[in-house]
């Protein structure tokens, strides 16, 4: 008898679990749930850290678990567990039903699961194709060695992590899918020091679904980039605070759009009543030079996925077209509670989080200007070549650290400056993005929000903001 034909009392990855999943869903519907969703995962992760010229940490981890979500009306109950037996899953369904206090006799119809959509078929070989710990370690050590370009470099680090996640998603609308996701990320960090001067630099690279990507990573180019950046900033003066025009570089410069505007276009923000864009569909919310996109389909990009965590294939969503708001990023709960159609954006960190509407690859589309056009148009301002992290407050105010900045004077880049922070509100800044460059590039990152930390890419071409508050000394 084939393993797939065995009726199991426990979820078995790589086998057919249809009968067991249907039994669990029938059980939930029978108890009065409007909707039952089961998300099951099996993970196999590794991370490696190189410091100076030594491997100082190798951390494998593995695990499995299930998240069960029950909807009744617009309410939902979510239970997560490590127990993947039939008994454990049914107990979780019961717990969710009990939490929701479901007592009515109205029963939804469950017609069984649809034909299995298996996105994992071509991906099962990935685990054999990803680099071994030995191979990773060797390349990381070469990378950290590449950072040692002069005696001002006092700390060098290289880090790698690989996450392999196998998922099964089944729900009472018939959804039944399996997938394997592979994410790899590698980062370089250094600290430079000379007498009382200090600077630091970091770069991160990442991919999804490309087992060979780490092997192809150009560590020398990355090391040169981060070294050059830290040297430029080592003796930089603090920037003077004030209102000024800025040019934000491409790639990770897109983090500002992601944080300050993208989150406000997630339906979770509509549910909370915390987005100023709630009733602005088809209205102008940005300068006409701005078109912004969120999608999950760019091959290899860190935020791409074959299917979201609710079993829907991701779509390309044009959020803003020529300054006009066109769409919100939505998941199942978002559609239920706000009426905005799902966009294949239901995402979660792992089984212990309920999915929520989350960004994937989010970027401002390219315009027609060169980077030089943007800089030449400013008589006094700031060029933000590399952005650090940032945050957005509960009322939409954002703050972002500029990791590498240069003053612009009379249309030319002049001295490097440190300590700059960009401060503003999306609603006020979006109409001030007056020029977009023609050099769109994406950069990987991690986004933390309601459903945990998920892989994303941010991106943009060089953009000019006519006026923004720059925090400094």
């Amino acid at each position: 008898m084939l393993s797939s034909q065995i009726k199991s009392n426990e979820i078995v990855f790589g086998s057919c679990n249809k009968d067991l999943l249907e039994e669990i869903i029938f059980y939930g519907i029978g108890l009065g749930a409007d909707f039952v969703e089961i998300f099951i995962e099996n993970t196999d992760n590794s991370s490696v850290l190189a410091e100076e010229d030594f491997i100082t940490s190798v951390s494998p981890s593995f695990g499995r678990g299930a998240g069960i979500r029950i909807f009744k009306g617009k309410k939902d109950g979510f239970v997560s567990t490590n127990d993947l037996t039939k008994h454990g899953l049914m107990r979780s369904v019961s717990q969710a039903i009990e939490m929701l206090d479901i007592t009515d006799n109205k029963r939804e119809v469950f017609n069984g699961l649809n034909k299995h959509r298996d996105y994992s078929l071509s991906k099962k070989k990935w685990i054999k194709e990803v680099p071994s710990i030995h191979e990773i370690s060797e390349k990381l050590l070469v990378s950290t060695k590449s950072l040692k370009k002069n005696n001002k470099i006092i700390t060098r680090k290289g880090s790698y992590s690989r996450n392999l996640q196998e998922v099964i998603i089944a729900s009472s609308d018939g959804t039944y899918v399996s997938d394997i996701r592979l994410h790899q990320t590698v980062g370089l960090n250094l600290i430079a020091s000379d007498a009382q001067y200090r600077s630091s630099g970091s770069r991160r690279f990442g991919s999804s679904g490309m087992p060979n990507e780490f092997r192809l990573w150009d560590h020398e180019k990355a090391a040169n980039d981060v070294f050059e950046s830290s040297m430029n900033m080592l003796y930089a003066d603090y920037v003077d605070a004030g209102q000024m025009p800025v040019v934000l570089a491409n790639k990770f410069g897109g983090v500002i759009f992601h944080e300050a505007c993208g989150h406000l276009l997630e339906t979770t923000q509509i549910e909370r009543g915390t987005t100023p864009f709630e009733n602005k569909l088809n209205e102008k919310i940005a300068h006409e030079s701005v078109t912004a996109i969120d999608e999950g389909i760019s091959e290899g990009s860190f935020g791409s996925l074959s299917v979201d965590d609710e079993g829907m294939e991701p779509e390309k969503s044009v959020l803003i077209k020529d300054g006009i708001l066109k769409k919100f990023i939505s998941d199942r709960a978002g559609e239920l509670r706000t009426g905005h159609k799902r966009t294949g954006s239901g995402r979660r960190q792992n089984y212990s989080f309920a999915a929520a509407s989350r960004m994937r690859n989010t970027y401002i589309a390219k315009g027609e200007h060169s980077k030089e056009d943007l800089i030449n148009s400013i008589s006094e301002g700031l060029y933000c070549k590399s952005m650090g992290g940032g945050s957005v407050g509960a009322t939409g105010q954002f703050n972002f650290a500029v990791e590498e900045g240069y003053l612009i004077k009379n249309g030319k880049l002049t001295s490097p400056v440190k300590g700059a922070t960009l401060i503003g509100e999306a609603k006020e800044v979006m109409p001030k993005i007056s020029m977009c460059g023609n050099d769109l590039e994406l950069a990987p990152g991690f986004c933390g929000s309601i459903s945990g930390s998920v892989n994303v890419t941010v991106g943009q071409p060089h953009i000019k903001v006519d006026s923004i508050t720059v925090g400094g000394r």
């Binding site: 940490s57 494998p60 979510f78 509960a394 925090g471």
Partner: protein, 450 residues
Amino acid sequence: MNSREITTQISKAADFLNLKKWDYGASFSNDYSVQVDKGEAKQLKASQKQILTIRVWNQSNLVGITTTSDISESGIKKALKQANIASDFGNKNETTEFSPLAKDPIKVKEVKKTNPVGIKKLLTLLRGAELKLIESHESIKSVPYNGLSESFFERVYANSEGAFRSYSKSQAALYLYARAEEKNKKPRSSGSVKLGYGADDIDIESCIKEASNKTISHLNYSSIKTDKYLICFSPESFLTIINAFSSMFNARSIIDGVSLSNKNSIGEELSTEALNIYDDGLHEKNISSTPFDGEGTPTKRLCLIKRGRIENFIHSESTARIFKTTPTGHAGLGSKVSVSPDWIVVEKSDENFDLKTSLDHYTYEGEFVYIEELNAIHAGVRASQGSFSLPFDGWLYKNGKKISIESATVAGDIKYLLKNIVNIESNQEVTTSGISPHIWVNELSITGDA
């Protein structure tokens, strides 16, 4: 399996695999949480979690590690095997050993034992809190960020030399962030967080009152002129900044070259003589306290700054060995053992004659900026460089009046800040991250919109 059975299971599996030296840390938890939206249940959540981290020493005494949520017999065996494979890549330059204090007696605080109140009760309590908060002021329209949770967990540490520690406790948390709206004004938001040993133990009324008062106090706002100001840090904001720069006291950070301090910094003058800072994980007010760290070392009170000078660093087993001292109970179990503070206590020392005691945030009538809460710490702090540029919530006090500051950042250097403390108020306040009085600092840069 309970924690004793898991220890036995690991021991048996290690014997089977001929692994002589191992240790593990584990946590097992049951968590329940609710969120509401205008009186309706929004999301109700329950989770059962188990995390096991196993370290194995190979014949060359190099350490490998694996973390798993699978504590079945096969899961434990697989974890030991993986850790053994990982030990081939163990750090040859900095060996790890068991903590010499892993069998020392631990002090377990007497805390109130609580039982789960259940999701329905959590929901009822949170609905009531949300309603009261909305009704507390006509401008408060919603409480977009709210939650009430209960957690019941056990932490365990054991090793192959017979050390075994286990600690069970419960904890509950309530957060309420209100949003206030007034015509022709920007929405304003503020909130409060309260912890307790159980849902029944949380002071819900004070959380509502604090969230309401803070939110209302920001309704009348204005931008602030970019300039240098006399600053009064609230206890919460001062603790935030000390925690953000705790790498100054962290032996791990010093070894890694990411601290402003070095091995010889003990005795270095950092601040006014009036300042004492302790790390006191076992403090009676610390609801999150645990009696031992990730390596099984007992938690203890440790003086970090005495009369303005660095007195001690916090350590793991390996950093303590390198510094020729004893572990301090601040280790986190990992392939590379981390070190972090528990609960900071700031106080005025006996040497406080130079302080300008006229600076009291209740009575001082001159101009100053009161920083209530610092935000975006992960983005605005360069711990290895000592600099910070952080958005904050607060007020400008001027001519006997106070007005909320619309949107601003405070920027500076931690060493400058500590050296320029001009007053430490007498009354200490308990926060969720420690205890501190209000601290006054001269001349920090504020960037505003005006």
